[in-house]
């Protein structure tokens, strides 16, 4: 995706969403064209199942078509709003999968499809994201363990229990890494005046 001025891109997406709220099919198609690759990437990373990611993408855009009128440009950036819709659907899907699974997947069970093998790892992505937005310093203040746990949770949708299995740490340790890491991230981001 070419790196456009983020403010200009947001304004463009907000204008498209406003027209989608009016049931403008062309605007909907343009919105899909400009955001579907990114949202698909997000969904693939979290659910790690191409068929499920496609289904989530479909449902997410159907929801956008029906609920574009509830998007409030004063409260969030369009891409944040769209990403939240996809992430929440992914997490619902993982939750349903958790309920269907009697035992937790262990490291010995090779996942059928692991997008993480391709491209940057979650902790690398975390740092890239920071670089792209001048909050790198904040991410770097996280202890490496917390950084890794947060990255795996965020980019691959791992639960506390899955993080514990993956990182071979007790559940309580994982929970406290994540909790402290998030508190620290917030303090740092809020101090640097990082805002939307």
């Amino acid at each position: 995706m070419p790196v456009a001025d983020p403010g200009e891109r947001s304004a463009r997406l907000a204008a498209l969403l406003a027209r989608v709220a009016l049931a403008d099919q062309r605007a909907f198609e343009a919105l899909y064209g400009q955001t579907s690759a990114h949202l698909h990437g997000v969904a693939l990373r979290i659910v790690r199942d191409p068929a499920a990611a496609e289904e989530i993408l479909q449902e997410a855009y159907i929801s956008v078509w029906h609920h574009a009128g509830t998007y409030d440009a004063a409260k969030s950036q369009p891409i944040t709003w769209l990403t939240s819709i996809v992430r929440n659907r992914c997490l619902d899907q993982l939750r349903r999968r958790d309920l269907d699974t009697v035992t937790l997947t262990t490291d010995d069970d090779a996942p059928a499809f692991d997008i993480a093998d391709e491209g940057p790892t979650p902790p690398e992505l975390l740092l890239e994201g920071a670089e792209a937005s001048s909050v790198r310093a904040c991410v770097e203040t996280l202890e490496p363990a917390a950084r890794q746990a947060i990255a795996l949770a965020f980019f691959q949708g791992l639960s506390h229990a899955e993080l514990a299995a993956h990182l071979r740490q007790p559940l309580g340790t994982i929970k406290s890494w994540v909790r402290r890491g998030l508190v620290r991230l917030r303090q740092c981001l809020d101090q640097t005046g990082y805002s939307r």
């Binding site: 099919q25 990373r45 855009y61 440009a73 969030s76 950036q77 992505l125």
Partner: protein, 237 residues
């Protein structure tokens, strides 16, 4: 939840963070989701976390989805696959007969308004827009004399924006982003000054729309609230 208490505030922050990160799972997530829908403080806290973490999501490499995803979306929504002759809005996607009935109705209402407004308008060339909701019931009627830079809006339903809210009027150019024509002052009749004579200002505008905005109007320059009423610009000249 009593959020004034510092401990509760911390607890909410922690829950909202876990929600946005995705580690809040199971029933806890379902419960939080439910509270979030009804409690604006909880919703705002979760949104803040989504915003903080969103900057990280921006780096996920994009993966272009298969064309079948778009086809499935179009099919499931009952939209037309090709966009060449596609309707642009619900008012254009209505069946011919319903569209015909609406147009006649709008024209009839427009005419009766012209009669109400009296000979000053009838004698001149004028523009009339009947703004109606999805139920096709007129809510506002906008009229303008072609050569004058003024729109007059008359409320014809009981619909009001509610406290702390306002109706904002938008011009919808074909294929372009909505342009604000201003906030509609409360009352039965409101006047909106235009920068140019209405005939010129609305020359390439097929449709007007009204959205629900915070008092004072959209803070962003684009509609932020739901679009409540739309209507075609009818030119009587």
């Amino acid at each position: 939840m009593d959020l004034a208490h510092p401990d509760r505030r911390e607890r909410l922050e922690a829950l909202a963070a876990q929600y946005a990160l995705g580690t809040l799972r199971g029933l806890a997530r379902v419960r939080f989701d439910r509270v979030l829908r009804s409690d604006p403080v909880v919703a705002a806290t979760a949104r803040d976390w989504e915003r903080r973490l969103a900057v990280l999501a921006a780096t996920v490499p994009g993966v272009t989805p298969s064309p079948r995803v778009w086809s499935a979306i179009v099919a499931r929504l009952g939209l037309r696959a090709g966009i060449d002759e596609a309707g642009l809005g619900w008012w254009q996607r209505l069946g011919f007969w319903r569209g015909f009935a609406l147009a006649s109705f709008a024209a009839a209402v427009g005419l009766s308004v012209l009669q109400l407004l009296g000979p000053a308008v009838l004698s001149g060339e004028s523009l009339v827009v009947v703004l109606a909701g999805p139920d096709a019931k007129p809510a506002l009627i906008a009229t303008a004399v072609r050569g004058e830079p003024l729109l007059t809006l008359k409320a014809v339903s009981e619909s009001v924006p509610g406290p702390g809210r306002a109706y904002e009027l938008w011009a919808l150019p074909d294929g372009g982003a909505p342009q604000s024509l201003g906030v509609i002052a409360p009352g039965r009749v409101a006047r909106l000054p235009l920068r140019r004579p209405s005939g010129e200002a609305l020359a390439s505008i097929p449709t007007l729309a009204v959205s629900l905005e915070p008092a004072g109007g959209s803070p962003t320059g684009a509609p932020t609230g739901p679009v409540l009423f739309t209507g075609r610009v009818e030119r009587f000249y």
